[in-house]
């Protein structure tokens, strides 16, 4: 008798157990991502918050190394083994996935109305008719400075170009600090933290960028050459041997308190906050003359879309609607200070440095990096060429005019804007 009960129980538990398992398997969503730095934030904060509200759906965050992500993702998508949710790189990398029908159209997804067209631009078709990823975060460029250094030398935060260089002169004359922590060895620092950081002020943000895409302006025009002329002047304020100074070198120089100003992207915030010894402040790219409108690079960086072959598309949509909600924006932006939500609902952030960065959105006009949309579609690639030429300008290998001419010639060789 007891043995029959026991075997009955065992049988029931096997069936029920497997049934539970089958149910769990039905609704497991896997996220493909390159943000392996964010693994703990997803596992400890974001996923539990979502699962608490949607008991039927389990979410697994499965990141790959950033440098391998694009290649690995393409291979997985072609083989049909990619996860249900795809973290989207901005612009052409994701647009190509959409054109190849690897990503589904999310234009009508509930929650998409929470984003402005600029926020969606990085993951929309060129005509803006279809969006295929939910915008998650953007990064803002500016300058992070060492407050102690500024106080000691009696420098106030510069707002104009003249004040900026006056401050640099003062720091250089004092000699305690390296005025600017930047090197040209890794090339992209010069382009991203240099050219794309100060540039929008001169080409008037979106206005210039769109004119460039339309072919109404050229890179050899004054608004595009002038930032190079300013950048060339930075040379005198960089550390000894900046030609061989790498990006981690710059970060270390700054966090060790040996440099006064770090031309930055907001993604540095969490790393810099770890060094408790120095007090940090931030200022937006200086304008040319006092009272000019300021422009900032508020660059769309991360989005999320749905794998067209996903068997759990409905659950995936539920998840993305949540990603589009203010609740997600709040958790995400606070867990990762420096990655700012693109949601129209303002997010209250605790980090003072992140607050400073995001406050520029109110007084300055935002734009995205000039080389990202459409203009880096061909060979030679404008973004990659900009890396090389920006470093050349700072190193003095090329004059600003020559650099601009090279870039425009490269662009002309394949880009024929419709007129």
């Amino acid at each position: 008798m007891t043995s029959r009960v026991l075997s009955g129980l065992l049988l029931a538990s096997t069936i029920l157990g497997s049934a539970a398992l089958a149910q769990a398997q039905d609704k497991t969503l896997t996220i493909e991502s390159w943000r392996n730095d964010d693994l703990s934030i997803w596992q400890e904060k974001l996923i539990p918050a979502f699962e608490a509200k949607h008991p039927g759906i389990k979410v697994v965050f499965s990141p790959t190394a950033p440098t391998e992500y694009n290649a690995a993702l393409n291979a997985k998508l072609d083989a049909g083994s990619a996860g249900d949710l795809i973290t989207c790189r901005p612009f052409d990398a994701s647009l190509e996935l959409y054109n190849k029908k690897h990503l589904i159209n999310l234009t009508d997804l509930p929650g998409m109305e929470n984003f402005s067209p600029v926020a969606k631009s990085a993951w929309s078709t060129d005509d803006g008719s279809a969006s295929f990823c939910v915008p998650m975060a953007s990064v803002i460029h500016g300058f992070i400075y060492n407050k102690d250094a500024f106080e000691k030398l009696g420098i106030s935060v510069p707002t104009t170009e003249a004040e900026f260089f006056a401050a640099l002169d003062k720091i250089k004359a004092d000699g305690t600090y390296i005025p600017l922590a930047m090197g040209t060895k890794d090339l992209w620092e010069a382009a991203t933290m240099g050219y794309q950081n100060i540039g929008p002020t001169y080409w008037k943000g979106e206005e210039g960028r769109i004119a460039l895409v339309k072919g109404e302006q050229k890179l050899t025009d004054e608004p595009w050459v002038e930032p190079y002329r300013v950048l060339a002047k930075w040379k005198d304020y960089l550390g000894d041997g900046f030609e061989a100074q790498t990006y981690p070198d710059s970060q270390n120089l700054f966090t060790l308190g040996r440099a006064a100003i770090f031309p930055a992207g907001s993604w540095e915030i969490s790393l810099f906050n770890q060094s408790k010894d120095i007090k940090l402040g931030a200022f937006a790219p200086p304008v040319k003359n006092a009272g000019d409108t300021c422009y900032i690079s508020d660059h769309n960086d991360i989005g999320m879309g749905i794998n067209a072959k996903s068997p759990n598309a409905d659950a995936a949509k539920t998840f993305l609607t949540w990603v589009a909600s203010p609740e997600f924006a709040d958790i995400y932006a606070n867990a990762l200070p420096g990655f700012f939500s693109l949601n129209s609902t303002p997010v209250k952030m605790a980090d003072p440095l992140a607050q400073e960065f995001v406050s520029w959105r109110e007084k300055c006009k935002p734009t995205i990096r000039s080389t990202y949309q459409i203009l880096s579609r061909g060979t030679p690639n404008l973004e990659n060429e900009t890396w090389t030429e920006s470093a050349n300008v700072i190193n003095g290998t090329d004059t600003p005019e020559v650099a601009a001419k090279k870039l425009q010639d490269g662009l002309d060789s394949w880009y024929k804007p419709a007129k």
Binding site: E96, T388, A391
Partner: protein, 320 residues
């Protein structure tokens, strides 16, 4: 290739040698290597050569003949990139031939001096970098040469040469030489070991006979030993050639995929990588990548053939 295909011609010859047992073991023993080698070397090579004749036309892969090569050599930008990479590659190779191999020979000659103490220690120490990963070597040298944290500015300061220090890896004029010398430092152990082995295999009688004839010291090295190790030097040259024209890893680790500054360290390997896999915003172009790979293959093939048919046959070998 299947086992049946291998043994088919064999089966046809069977009636001639009727009594001979089938020697299956030959096939069986050859098969694993054949399969592995075909799968990881021959097939990809053929596929690469094939891919270089195809390109995407209107979204569909299509046979385009030699059009890819016409773009590579005919388009001003592609050609400029390609010739720049080839020239850098050639400089990279010349530096290895002029620095690595003579130093390798010299080290081997010194190691083979019978009176040298701690020979085993030197041998191991000099060979050790060859065993290190290029990632480690690249990283160590980036740190050594770093103008901020590096030991080289400090060491040069100690001997009063600080003014001669410059951020070599960051200057277009010196970056390629610096990277080449790092590579020389890493691989100098290989020519040393090969030459050392060749020197050790020279019979005592030959040396003794030379000594009887009054040839000693430097004269002995130039007139007796060097001619005897020439075949080994030939092998080293061709290994250096193949290795250098395939070079990629160290440059990628030290200078990044854009091989800066100003493409001054760009070699065929990094150009191939950027083209085939794409980099940052540039999407990969498999057809043009395969085209560059094919050209690299042809360059190496030409170099090796030149050596095999032009030089190796003329090297006099001595049998003892």
């Amino acid at each position: 290739m299947s086992e049946a295909a291998v043994s088919a011609p064999y089966a046809r010859t069977l009636p001639v040698a009727a009594k001979r047992p089938r020697r299956w073991h030959i096939v069986v023993f050859l098969l694993p290597a054949l399969i592995v080698y075909s799968a990881v070397m021959i097939l990809p090579l053929i596929e690469t050569l094939r891919l270089s004749l195809f390109n995407v036309v209107d979204g569909q892969p299509a046979f385009v003949g030699l059009a890819n090569f016409r773009v590579l050599f005919g388009d001003a930008r592609w050609a400029a990139d390609f010739w720049n990479a080839l020239r850098n590659n050639f400089i990279f190779f010349v530096i290895h031939m002029l620095v690595q191999n003579p130093i390798g020979v010299a080290l081997a000659a010194m190691l083979s001096i019978p009176k040298l103490r701690f020979a085993a220690f030197y041998r191991t120490a000099i060979f050790l970098p060859t065993l290190l990963s290029f990632v480690i070597v690249g990283f160590i040298w980036k740190l050594i040469l770093s103008p901020i944290w590096g030991v080289s500015p400090w060491l040069m300061d100690l001997v009063g040469l600080k003014s001669f220090f410059s951020p070599w890896l960051g200057k277009p004029g010196s970056a390629l030489i610096a990277v080449s010398l790092i590579s020389v430092w890493q691989y100098v152990g290989i020519p040393m070991m090969l030459i050392y082995a060749a020197l050790l295999s020279i019979p005592e009688e030959v040396i003794e006979a030379a000594e009887c004839d009054g040839i000693t010291g430097w004269g002995q090295f130039w007139k007796i030993k060097l001619p005897l190790i020439l075949p080994a030097i030939g092998i080293i040259s061709i290994l250096t050639f193949v290795g250098n024209f395939n070079a990629f890893d160290l440059i990628y680790t030290v200078q990044g995929a854009l091989a800066g500054p100003d493409k001054s360290t760009d070699v065929l390997g990094t150009l191939l990588y950027r083209t085939f896999f794409g980099f940052q915003l540039q999407l990969g172009d498999r057809s043009m990548g395969a085209t560059i790979a094919t050209v690299m293959f042809l360059i190496i093939l030409a170099g090796v053939s030149l050596y095999l048919f032009g030089i190796q046959r003329r090297i006099r070998r001595y049998q003892f």
